[in-house]
Symmetry: C2
Amino acid sequence: MDITTKFSDKVKHLEASAIREIFKLLAKPGIISFAGGAPDPELFPKKEFAELAKEILEKDGNTALQYGITEGYAPLRTWVKNRLVSQGVLKDTDDVIIGSGGQQGIDLATKSLINPGEGIVCEEPSFIGGLNCFRSYNAELYGVPVLDDGIDTEALEETLKAHKNIKVLYTISTFQNPSGITISLEKRKKILELAEKYDFLIYEDNPYGELRFEGEEIPTLKSMDKAGRVIYFGSFSKILAPGMRLGFVSAPAPLLERMIICKQTEDVHTNVLSQMIAYEFVTRYSIDDHIKKLRAAYGKKCRLMMDAMDKYFPAEVKHTCPEGGLFLFCTLPVGFDSKELMKKALERNVAFVPGTSCMIDDKATYNTFRMNYSTASEEDIEKGIKALGEVIYEFLGK
Amino acid sequence: MDITTKFSDKVKHLEASAIREIFKLLAKPGIISFAGGAPDPELFPKKEFAELAKEILEKDGNTALQYGITEGYAPLRTWVKNRLVSQGVLKDTDDVIIGSGGQQGIDLATKSLINPGEGIVCEEPSFIGGLNCFRSYNAELYGVPVLDDGIDTEALEETLKAHKNIKVLYTISTFQNPSGITISLEKRKKILELAEKYDFLIYEDNPYGELRFEGEEIPTLKSMDKAGRVIYFGSFSKILAPGMRLGFVSAPAPLLERMIICKQTEDVHTNVLSQMIAYEFVTRYSIDDHIKKLRAAYGKKCRLMMDAMDKYFPAEVKHTCPEGGLFLFCTLPVGFDSKELMKKALERNVAFVPGTSCMIDDKATYNTFRMNYSTASEEDIEKGIKALGEVIYEFLGK
């Protein structure tokens, strides 16, 4: 029997995440990869986690290993909520649930909100995991360019005028993946105005917000949201460890309730041991001190990468200058295909993510690429950018 | 803004799992609950897990805490596959992926296969988590009664004749939840014949199969499947610990590939630390010895519960006699509503799951209820059944 004849309309058209496919190539020994989006594993609090895991399993293994609550491990849920309230992101009346990574929040919200053919506006470039999630629910995707101060709000309004089926705007408001760009305060206000005017919801995906190493904090869209239009996604992946698969969502209560029902049918609840480890870590140790360490390390690596690019890349290759997060975004001169560059780079044992993986029309050709500076060692950043510079010089025929 | 006006058609009609809502009532101190489906926490290998977790985080924390592979931690995946091959469930050419619990496999398969309005035949009674998952994709559900030797295959054929939209049969083939009943070998053959004749797929959900404490093994549907129609779901929840959220699926390769893409958009990958703990446990210790212990304990508890029922319940109340698994199913005389009985029982600090939670039409009235014997202590089984017997005598007006 040919199983492919049985596929649902939701998955017929889906393709594997190009980024995750690239990851498979990276098993090649000796490769320096700027392709991932992974935190620096040297900064994982491994020793603390090892002690905590042992203690939790010995003292409260019956809780850690038994079925848990769909909404999340109650102490962790409360801790997350209180932290977001103290940061001004949430009001005291808001609620939070824990998910299996930030990704699950996006999935549950989309399942709960989007009918096939309904529209989601995405920043272009954007996060492949978001785009593919929306595709898996047969959403219609509309791209709006990202400028230096965030999404082009004029183009956004044009898009909203042109398409009456738009239900959601998806934005990674701070240190965007892949561009590293942060939406300015004025634009945030404008976006909320447009949401009222055109009656849409906002997914504010903020996994990197805590990783600011330069500049001033800007209030989240969620903190300025008076109408209950913003669904806020956060994550422990970048501030603790992604392998734990811990994220959180805040949304209007009736939506959270639907999302919980969907989570029951999706994975029943989130891994309990990891929730307990995270909770014990954030309460026994200073999460702010830990984040301070991350900020310093990533700030240093980011500057190192930008300095190396300025030294080894042709002047025509531009890059963004992020104030936080894990990524910067490069642009080749017009007409050069970063996918082709990727092939040449892989031959020289350097990898990045071609812009095409971050675009709605992923069949077209783009002259952009994403560079991650968090995973590679400082030494490899220098070495890898030098090698990539040589590849680019050749590629541009210089 | 009223968020409920924005809900998708998928979730508008969904209701929270009544079972999980019941769980919230059970926080009441002193309650004896036969409502859950949880393994006995005293049998969790806590000490071993504590040592393993510590060792893994200390020695290989970079792997345990970093992003992992969507398909699952490779050594665990291989181990699961080899075990299923050695049990005769899979062929050597079959493949397996790890999911966040058995539930996620059911969700990913359904997302990949079911369009709104397509039909899924379910055993009645069946597992609420399965039913709700299908509902969340707007499947049309058709119920077929479970007889003493499994699903009524004549009624199944009538259903298949009457409804041309049926794409999947969902069966918990062995020690069914909630009935405890196992499908006979002849019926398994018949089901596979019908699948060919009426061109449908089979979800064989087998989380309890390893927990046989009496009678002879019966080959899985998957092991007899020549046409590639069976999608097989397994779980570590009942043989190790549910809080880890570890399950597995085997399906035809093109379907597995779609499911992996869906998993990327759902939770990226399964918790790595738990996969590593499970792998180290099953390779360093004897999983078969561990399962032997579980079988003995659950067999003893099941007999204890049946004996207590025979002693304390009115003779008109019937129960199934499972040869394994975690549940048995009781039937009150015709006309008595087990939901009403549940209210009375809760007043007396005893809980179970009313049959209505296991039925497609969950608004109707049923005289059945599910009893779990794995979670409560032996002492509580005796005490709880005695109390429940008194409630039933009163309820039946005797």
